[in-house]
């Protein structure tokens, strides 16, 4: 029977099998395994059955720990159950994994193996997570390609059922989980043929049941625990044989043969590599290449790592081997070697006597965090084995100039199959390049006898991110598990990339180069930077140019150039006959966009038809004539570390940085965001100084801190650039000074939130506001000069500003700037505000999530310092522990302050009573009080500098702790409502003075919009595909129940003054504070330009009531519960149906949507009653009600200095 093939990625391949083989699937999002849960949720929603005809139950849990618990329970009760995870998620499962294995419970956990965070978090792939789980008793089975991931998902399940040993089936995160490749999928019958129904029944029968009750989960004492622990040995001993037999049965049916250890290469090899995971693809190519050159080399692929079958391992090794290099994709600091190496050594040690000939065995590390692993590196490992004294415990793929572990390799060495077409595409996330390339792979891979592979690399920014697509097509199966370095086709979809990065580095000699440029074939050459011209000439590239943006506009596609560029690729790459390609592209467009309506399909069809009319071949001149350089990644004025290290990362050259360039403990400078000028906005806001009322709203909402205001002495203007604008300040008593609203043109993302929030309209032309979007390019240079001048102006005296007034807040310097968050992000304005108010004494504990990525993902950080060098100190621990992490910071700060006070008291006579008393009794509740304390600390430090005693030295080290610190625990709803809820609740319950800022986007934004307990009823989200059925948790009321926690619900777009006031009150409150901040998000599904409008609608509908609960008011005899928004004035629907998260359900499933909408409206009505009751009646008589905070509109004109 001929089997059809499909193009899928590793996650889909695994989920497709796991879903059909299970009854209960517990899921939780974590990169890169989240899509396995997404597929399962979607299939459940589509009522897809498993092989027994039932629809699996897919349940999202609050954490991976929860998922493992649910898995354990389901298994104990006799269900077939699974889960998917990675990295820290797997670590959270470990306690349950011990139990599941200890109870000999058959199950499979599928892991997209990912780096465990150490000195830094990494979302990319290596084996550190699965290696951390190797003591649990789970069998570890590793697949190394997309096809194997599918096959091993089945083999693992079958083996688990037969051996009763639970399996951890793993494959490399991203490299396999996200690689698109052609596979032959497994049918239901294939699955049924491998799964032994008797074993399934036995498993069910072992399940707990009151009909045949047993006791499991006992506690055992020293008398028997040990013996009982050894009782399962026979199962482990039998397990490899079980796997071996199942692999044979699999081969009989499917024709794909696997062994516990698969050897490839010379039968008489003298040197071999032992390894597992996707890297075997690169090594296998290398082995074949070297064998053709006559070298006797081989590769042993480890399939079943644990239980380690020593005999099978040794049997698989050729007898003549004299050198073995074991490659581990993990690092275990302090160990003799990494786990696979140690096991290999132990295998030899256990079976060969010391007198026998032993091969030389060395071990090394490669590929941590998806570091490239290429045939060149594999060759260097094999070459090392030839050396008389090969290096052990080596590294390969990096340059270790500190401990000199790294092997040298020749980057020019290549094993690329000459029959393979290799294409590399540079695009922007927003231009659709990756999506089109995924379609191209499917188009080509559908053809008979054609194989296709796609792998996609993204940078760490959410707005304006650069994508690089690596596509291979050819007549032979493609197993090259590394990026393309010799491309026969290179496409640059963004002309501006040419001046910033070396896009032709990967181009092979004679390659075709397709360039999207706003120039004709006659003009384009003169606009290329000189190095680009030279590379085109040197590599004899065949150059084509198209103005794809013009073509897209003509086709009505806006900035989506994907269809046009894809058509051009097919037209000039020759991968398919042109006419056939056009038909196939259109079929793919219909497949991809058909559900989105005929109009979208028609426009893309039109783009296909028009694309080739715009494509031009360029006659390349004989010599380079340009004087344009490639720009440095950062300014020459940047600090050395930023220039040499971060700059290399920005330029995409981070792989070339040696070990010595890196800090040894993961500590980095702040204040680096300002050096990464990304120039991603096509339009930027321009200030109309005559119209502006200086309300400060634009400054407040700007998510990227690129629009700022200062008031300064007019004399400063003498040195101002000619186009620098200023106006008379609209503050009483400041009329003699000047006011400027300035935009940083190269940092702006063009989100337009500022323009939308601007309340002023021209009396003669309503569309003209006090700030207006204008094309960036002509403004870049003059406005950059203006920005530089502006930044150098002194900041206005903080003590003279009313920090509760939005108008005054605009003059407070933000210490969070130019983050890589999405354009128009709803979270970052809150963080920026936090740094404006308290930044110079701020400690931030940041839960993993969007805010930790745009806050702390290299190369640069948005956190920065003020002119005195002070600024937020920031750290991220984990996702689940952020509240506890922040509590620890608070305790440390308090303990240090306490010890400083002891030291101060102890040495009081040295400093004078007045100073000591002032330091100890300082009132630091105001900006002035803190400034005064800083002065006193400065005076103290001066005095201490000349003293030399242990106490004096200690006090000098701790003197700064006498200035009050502000500790903030920042994170998203996934943390606060779900995975970190227990910790957060506990920390709030301790009564400690920490402040919690929950950036509530109502989904797991960072991992792509999975539902959390903050997701509202009636909204669609991943893991809630059919619409969330249950109501959002009221975190505010939970916290209020303590009575001692300051709680606020804020929405900046609903009432910015209330937001500012809540921040100040929370910080001032001497106890735990919780601010839940409505944060609009790209995952809500609308143009975020209107984010603040939507926030307002959320408040007006009553969905998001604004409130503050201030326990301090109770002491004043007032009601601590203050409702700051008015009764709902618009229906929930009017707010909700502006967002795709609600409206797509109304389209997809109108009846369910209607039902959920009605329930959601009921939730709001009920919530309003509860809140208004609290405001009216709780805890205090009605006459003591404080006044609600006036709305933003009511206060927009205010603003007086104190």
């Amino acid at each position: 029977m001929k089997r059809s093939s499909v193009i899928v990625d590793g996650n889909e391949a695994v989920a497709d099998v796991a879903y059909r083989l299970n009854e209960v699937i517990a899921i939780y999002p974590i990169t890169p395994s989240s899509p396995m849960g997404e597929w399962s949720d979607q299939w459940q929603q589509e009522r897809r059955p498993n092989i027994w005809g039932a629809i699996p139950t897919v349940v999202e849990m609050q954490s991976e720990g929860g998922a493992a618990g649910a898995l354990h329970g389901a298994l104990q009760a006799g269900a077939l159950a699974t889960t998917f995870t990675a990295s820290q998620g797997l670590l959270l499962m470990i306690p349950n994994m011990y139990k599941i294995a200890g109870e000999l419970t058959p199950a499979v956990i599928h892991v997209a193996a990912r780096t465990v965070a150490a000195h830094a978090l990494s979302i990319f792939g290596d084996h550190s997570d699965v290696m951390a789980a190797r003591a649990t008793g789970f069998a570890l089975l590793c697949s190394s390609s997309v096809q194997e991931a599918s096959d091993f998902a089945l083999i693992a399940q079958a083996a688990a059922l037969e051996s009763r040993i639970p399996f951890l089936h793993f494959f490399d995160g991203f490299r396999t989980s996200h690689e698109l490749n052609q596979i032959t999928p497994l049918s239901d019958d294939d699955l049924r043929s491998l799964i032994d129904e008797t074993q399934v029944r036995k498993h069910r029968h072992r399940g707990l049941s009151p009909d045949h009750p047993v006791l499991r989960g006992t506690a055992q004492n020293p008398d028997v625990f040990f013996q009982a622990r050894e009782a399962s040995n026979p199962s482990y001993r039998a397990c490899p044989t079980v796997v071996h037999d199942i692999m044979n049965r699999f081969a009989d049916r499917l024709g794909r043969s696997y062994k516990l250890f698969d050897y490839v290469g010379a039968a008489d090899a003298d040197r071999i590599i032992v390894m597992m995971g996707s890297g075997v693809g690169a090594v296998e190519e290398t082995i074949e290449h070297l064998q053709r050159r006559g070298e006797k080399v081989g590769l042993l692929k480890v399939r079943l790592f644990l239980p380690f079958a020593v005999d099978a391992f040794l049997d698989a090794i050729p007898k003549n081997v004299s050198g073995i290099a074991v490659l581990d994709r993990t690092k275990e600091p302090g160990s003799i070697g990494e786990p696979l190496y140690l096991d290999v050594v132990a295998a030899f040690h256990e079976t060969r006597t010391m007198t026998e000939h032993w091969p030389r065995i060395i071990g090394g590390r490669y590929g941590l965090s998806s570091k490239e692993f290429t045939p060149a590196m594999a060759k260097s490992v094999l070459d090392e084995l030839k050396s008389p004294a090969p290096q052990n415990h080596f590294t390969v793929g990096i340059r270790d100039d500190v401990t000199h572990t790294s092997l040298v390799y020749d980057p020019e060495f290549s094993t690329e199959d000459p029959t393979t077409v290799r294409a590399v595409f540079y695009g922007l996330g927003s231009d659709g390049t990756v999506g089109a390339n995924k379609n191209s792979i499917k188009i080509i891979g559908k053809r008979a006898n054609t194989y296709a592979q796609g792998y996609f690399v993204y940078d760490s920014k959410k707005a304006g991110s650069i994508t690089v697509s690596h596509l291979r097509f050819g007549p032979r199966p493609i197993r090259s598990s590394y990026l393309i370095s010799k491309a026969s086709f290179v496409a640059c979809h963004q002309f501006q990339f040419l001046e910033r990065m070396d896009v032709l580095k990967a181009a092979d000699l004679g390659a075709t180069f397709l360039l999207n440029a706003p120039f004709s074939s006659a003009e384009v050459w003169n606009h290329l930077p000189k190095p680009v011209q030279e590379e085109i000439l040197r590599k004899k590239l065949d150059l084509y140019v198209i103005d794809a943006y013009k073509a897209a506009r003509e086709a009505g596609l806006g900035n989506r150039i994907n269809t046009i560029m894809q058509t051009c690729f097919f037209a000039i790459s020759g991968v398919l006959p042109r006419e056939e390609a056009i038909v196939a592209i259109k079929d793919a467009i219909r497949d991809t966009y058909g559900k989105r309506g005929e109009a979208v399909v028609a426009k893309n069809f039109a783009a296909v038809d028009q694309a080739l009319g715009h494509l031009q071949h360029v006659s390349v001149p004989e010599r380079a004539s340009s004087s344009l350089p490639i720009l440095p990644p950062v300014s020459h004025q940047a600090p050395e570390f930023v220039r040499n290290v971060l700059g290399a990362m920005i330029a995409g050259q981070g792989d070339s940085l040696p070990v010595s360039a890196m800090p040894i403990d993961g500590t980095f400078l702040t204040g680096t965001g300002k050096w990464e000028k990304r120039n991603i906005a096509q339009e930027i806001p321009v200030w109309d100084e005559d119209l502006c009322i200086q309300c400060g709203k634009c400054v407040m909402v700007c998510p990227h801190a690129v629009i700022r205001a200062k008031v300064y002495d007019s004399a400063r203007l003498a040195d101002a650039p000619s186009t620098f604008k200023s106006a008379k300040p609209r503050w009483r008593e400041l009329e003699s000074l000047r006011y400027t609203l300035q935009v940083s043109p190269e940092d702006c993302t063009g989100c337009q939130l500022c323009v939308e929030v601007c309340p002023v309209k021209s009396k003669s032309e309503a569309k003209h506001k006090a700030i207006n979007m204008t094309p960036q390019e002509p403004l870049r240079k003059p406005e950059s000069s203006n920005w530089d001048f502006f930044v150098a102006l002194p900041d206005f005296d903080r003590q003279r500003l009313a920090h509760t007034h939005v108008k005054d807040v605009q003059l407070l310097e933000p210490l969070f700037e130019f983050s890589g968050a999405c354009a128009g992000c709803g979270e970052t304005p809150y963080i920026k505000l936090l740094t404006q108010l308290f930044g110079d004494r701020l400690l931030i504990a940041n839960a993993t999530g969007c805010s930790s990525i745009y806050g702390g993902n290299l190369p640069t950080t948005p956190y920065t310092t003020n002119q005195q060098g002070r600024g937020p100190a920031w750290s991220n621990s984990l996702f689940e522990d952020n509240a506890e992490f922040g509590l620890g910071m608070r305790l440390a700060a308090d303990k240090q302050a306490e010890y400083a006070r002891i030291l101060l008291t102890r040495q009081a006579s040295l400093f004078g009573d007045a100073l000591v008393q002032a330091l100890l009794a300082a009132d630091q509740s105001s900006e002035a009080g803190i400034a005064a304390q800083r002065e006193r600390v400065g005076e103290l430090k001066q005095k201490l500098a000349s003293l030399d005693s242990p106490d004096a030295r200690d006090l000098l080290a701790l003197a700064e702790s006498l200035v009050r610190k502000s500790v903030w625990l920042v994170g998203g709803d996934g943390w606060a409502y779900d995975i970190g809820a227990g910790g957060l609740d506990h920390v709030l319950g301790t009564g400690t003075n920490v402040n919690v800022l929950v950036l509530d986007t109502e989904v797991y934004s960072n991992t792509g919009g999975q539902a959390s307990k903050a997701t509202p009823r009636a909204a669609v989200a991943k893991y809630a595909t059919g619409g969330k059925r249950t109501v959002k948790k009221d975190l505010a009321l939970e916290a209020i129940s303590y009575g001692s926690v300051y709680v606020a619900r804020v929405a900046m777009g609903g009432n910015d003054t209330q937001t500012v006031r809540a921040f100040i009150e929370a910080e001032a409150y001497d106890g735990p504070s919780l601010i839940i901040a409505y944060s609009h998000c790209i995952a809500h599904g609308y143009d975020m330009t209107f984010g603040m409008e939507q926030q307002k609608a959320a408040v007006l509908s009553g969905y998001w009531p604004l409130m503050r609960y201030d326990p301090a008011l109770r002491l004043q005899g007032k009601n601590p519960f203050q409702l700051d928004s008015r009764a709902p004035s618009i229906p929930f629907q009017k707010y909700a149906y502006q967002e795709a998260r609600y409206s797509t359900l109304a389209r997809s499933d109108p009846e369910v949507a209607r039902e959920l909408l009605a329930l959601a409206q009921g939730d709001i009505d009920r919530q309003w009653k509860v809140y208004s009751n609290h405001a009216e009646t709780t805890e205090t008589p009605s006459h003591a009600h404080p006044e609600p905070v006036a709305s933003a509109q009511e206060t927009s004109q205010e603003g007086e200095t104190k």
Partner: protein, 344 residues
């Protein structure tokens, strides 16, 4: 027994009251209620080609935003089985309505392209509509566009659609033509089986505080009926197409006026919004009682009885009427508007 049956577009109707295109006829439950309340036919809400397109683009934009930009989130929304973005839901409504009620169900279509108009017209016919109403809702804002070209386009559209489908076609137009009578005649000549007079437009308002344009649609008032009566009366006998009055029909008396002016049916919407669907019963009862009291045998008997060609002094429909109203108004400045009406 008074006979209130009529015909419209060649379809026999049990009464001359028709539910005009509005969101009220967007569900099978309401269409059943209309039937129960005695209306002769139901016009479904308009299928707006442009709206389908815009919704398609909007969903596409919403689902594409941020996609394939970062490795952790390749997209932000689950893949739903269907977004109902084509005309399928509308066609399903026609299909179900036809199965659910015995009165004729008339489809309504607003298009923007000749291709779109024809494609959707065919689909509406295939779905089982008894007739099609073309809702020509076109605001010509291009200062270069001439009236003659616009009128010719409309006629060409009607010819095109008539060639494409077999069910009767009515054309709903606005009153804003320089030569309304001629336009009606042209459309009649192009093959329109019916003329629906007149469309009411969404008229943007200005919020003077927010300096924003606010879209608004107010419900019709009875006085708006007069414009319709005026033109039906003028056209009666001059066009072969059946005429429908829509806009300002609120009472049984209004239906009678429409018939007397020359219409085959009177269409009602605002009164249903104000009083509920059962208001059809009330209006029809009022009409029937009046006919009984005045011993009319049938609706057909009165059709066109007060048309321009049937009244003794047709100048009431001409410019003279304008002068007369004005002079009576100036002579009696204290009179209310209704007083003026009574004196006519």
């Amino acid at each position: 027994m008074t006979n209130i049956t009529t015909t419209y577009l060649g379809l026999p109707l049990r009464s001359p009251l028709v539910a005009s295109a509005s969101p009220l006829s967007d569900s099978i439950e309401n269409i059943r209620r209309f039937e129960d309340s005695g209306v002769g036919a139901v016009v479904l809400p308009s299928l707006f080609e442009e709206q389908l397109e815009l919704e398609s683009y909007a969903v596409h934009a919403d689902l594409s935003r941020g996609a394939e930009s970062t490795p952790e989130s390749l997209n932000y929304f689950p893949n739903l089985h269907n977004y109902n973005l084509g005309p399928d839901a509308y066609l399903e409504l026609i299909h179900k309505a036809k199965q659910s009620v015995s009165i004729p169900v008339i489809g309504s279509l607003n298009g923007v392209s000749v291709g779109g108009w024809t494609r959707y017209a065919k689909l509406i016919e295939q779905a089982g509509a008894a007739a099609l109403e073309l809702n020509i809702y076109d605001i010509v804002t291009d200062t270069h566009d001439k009236g003659s070209r616009v009128e010719e386009n409309y006629c060409e559209l009607v010819r095109h659609i008539k060639r494409s489908i077999g069910i009767p076609v009515a054309v709903k137009i606005s009153p804003f033509f320089t030569a309304m009578a001629n336009v009606a005649k042209q459309l009649d000549g192009a093959g329109a089986d019916g003329l629906v007079l007149f469309n009411r437009f969404y008229q943007p308002d200005i919020d003077i505080d927010a300096l924003e344009i606010v879209p608004s649609l107010t419900l019709s008032q009875s006085p708006e009926l007069r414009l319709r009566l005026h033109w039906v009366a003028i056209l009666y006998g001059n066009v072969a197409a059946n005429m429908a009055v829509t806009g300002g029909v609120h009472t049984g008396h209004d239906i009678l006026k429409a018939m007397m002016a020359g219409a085959h049916v009177a269409m009602m919407t605002s009164a249903f919004f104000q009083n509920g669907i059962r208001h059809a019963n009330v209006a029809l009862h009022e009409m029937t009682r009046w006919m009984e009291e005045h011993e009319y045998e049938s609706v057909g008997q009165m059709r066109g009885s007060m048309s321009r060609r049937s009244v003794p002094n047709p100048s009431a429909f001409d410019r003279a009427n304008y002068l007369r109203v004005l002079s009576s108004y100036t002579q009696s400045p204290w009179r209310s508007a209704s007083g003026i009406a009574k004196t006519e």
